[in-house]
């Protein structure tokens, strides 16, 4: 009875997060085309890229930030959840923490890919030549983000390779903890040898309509992606229950 109540509570949380996130995403979609400015006057959305030397107008390319930024925040959250899940599993040995660590690594892999893809597409326009991949210049921020994405993938590959459930759980927890410090590195990488990637998006997005849309997008899409973590968590818990029943 208790397990059923807990399970239904978890589904309720997932549904509420997903509903809020999706409603917010619809609002962001509407605002990004009907609320934010289409005609950009000089001075509001100009960015100076040292690679080119001349300021360029972002025109409407800034709309990609409404996906790029929330995906980046979600990746940071996933990294933090991996760390917390790992520590909690080592302290309590409860399977739910392993399920949470795995869920956040899985979603981190998706959100990390979103950050890399949207970032690269914008970079091609902002400081590349316009050709696909021309904006990827191996700067510390770009490279550390790619490494973080690879670390999420490594965690999932490693746990699948372990022979026993015990080894699998321990490796998931330990690697989740080792993965934790990588996001501060991604965050700090902007201060090391950065030339092209903007240091602060708020400096670029000064128009109030854009700032409002960006803030709503950050909340709504992060909620939707956290709903995805909750959904994968439920899925992984079901997998653990099936495994336990098979073993019994």
């Amino acid at each position: 009875m208790g397990t059923e109540t807990k399970s239904s509570n978890a589904w309720l949380v997932t549904t509420v997060l997903a509903a809020l996130g999706l409603i917010g995403a619809q609002a962001v979609l509407y605002m990004s085309y009907y609320y934010t400015p289409v005609q950009i006057s000089e001075g509001t959305l100009w960015v100076v890229t040292p690679d080119r030397g001349n300021p360029i107008n972002l025109y409407e390319s800034y709309r990609i930030f409404f996906i790029h930024l929330p995906a980046a925040y979600s990746t940071a959250l996933c990294c933090g959840i991996c760390l917390v899940g790992g520590v909690m599993w080592l302290l309590s040995k409860q399977p739910k923490w392993e399920a949470l660590t795995v869920a956040s690594a899985e979603v981190g892999l998706v959100t990390g890919a979103m950050v890399l893809l949207t970032g690269t597409l914008w970079a091609d326009y902002a400081w590349g030549s316009g050709r696909i991949g021309s904006g990827w210049n191996w700067e510390p921020r770009l490279t550390t983000m790619l490494i973080l994405w690879l670390a999420f993938a490594a965690l999932l590959v490693l746990r699948r390779s372990m022979d026993t459930p015990r080894q699998r759980s321990a490796m998931t927890a330990v690697y989740g903890i080792l993965l934790g410090p990588l996001y501060p590195l991604v965050s700090k990488a902007i201060e090391i040898g950065q030339t092209s990637h903007p240091r602060n998006f708020s400096d670029l997005l000064t128009a109030p309509e854009i700032a409002h849309t960006k803030n709503l997008a950050s909340i709504a899409l992060t909620l939707a992606l956290m709903a995805l973590v909750a959904l994968r968590f439920q899925w992984n818990r079901l997998g653990q229950q099936i495994e336990q029943e098979r073993a019994a």
């Binding site: 080592l90 690879l150 490693l158 372990m162 321990a170 330990v174 990588l182 590195l185 090391i192």
Partner: protein
């Protein structure tokens, strides 16, 4: 009435385990030969690869970066050899009856592997200075950066290799697992080397040295805490 068994002190345990590591290596010479040969082969391959580089600046930067790549992979080879040997001798089963925290074993393994890697690097540098025209001896601060970077690579490496060595294809797994985690260390090592070579001195390399110090301390502390938990049961 039988006397209660006396638990050896922490230092005695560290000393005994370290002596065991040295004795095993002196008898088998397994780590030094595999890491050393691997590093020397890397130098030969790097030497072949840089023949076409005409710019001096590009050459110097490339060679130094490649030496760090050689170090990274030599460390992976050494870690795999050491952990593979432990698996064959059921070392992890013996951990269960150790009268001390398993962190002692981690500490000893880290110190011994660090010593062997430093020895390998010494050989590597002696060979690379004439063959690759490396200006190593102009930069005495590298003597600080090299052990710090090695510690940052080996601290998570010793931890992860204890688990990956026990599964099929563990050698490849260790590389996959270690490289993303060791990237901050690699960034610190290459950054510090570049600054020193560019004439920035210690002041220029300071942020990178700090990064290496933080990574080394953090990974060592995590290793000491997690080694037993990763290998219990």
């Amino acid at each position: 009435m039988a006397d209660a068994p006396v638990q050896p002190s922490f230092l005695r345990a560290v000393g005994a385990l370290f002596a065991r590591e040295l004795r095993v290596e002196l008898r088998t010479k397994s780590l030094l030969t595999s890491m050393g040969l691997f590093a020397l082969l890397c130098i030969v391959i790097v030497g072949l690869g840089v023949r076409g580089i005409t710019s001096n600046e590009t050459y110097d930067r490339f060679v130094l970066a490649m030496l760090w790549v050689c170090t990274m992979f030599a460390a992976v080879v050494g870690l795999n050899r050491a952990a593979g040997s432990d698996r064959r001798k059921d070392f992890f089963g013996a951990l269960l009856i150790l009268p001390h925290d398993p962190g002692v074993v981690y500490f000893v393994r880290l110190v011994s592997t660090l010593a062997f890697l430093l020895l390998t690097q010494a050989i590597m540098i002696v060979v690379a200075v004439p063959l690759l025209k490396l200006d190593f001896f102009d930069q005495p601060l590298m003597l600080l950066i090299i052990p710090l970077a090695d510690l940052g690579i080996l601290a998570p490496g010793v931890l992860l290799s204890s688990s990956t060595s026990r599964v099929r294809g563990g050698e490849a797994l260790l590389t996959i697992a270690l490289l993303p985690v060791a990237v901050p260390v690699f960034a610190g090592a290459t950054g510090a080397t570049e600054r020193l070579q560019g004439g920035g001195g210690f002041a220029g390399a300071q942020p990178y040295v700090l990064l290496l110090l933080v990574c080394g301390a953090m990974f060592t502390a995590l290793g000491l805490l997690l080694y037993g938990r990763l290998n219990e049961g």
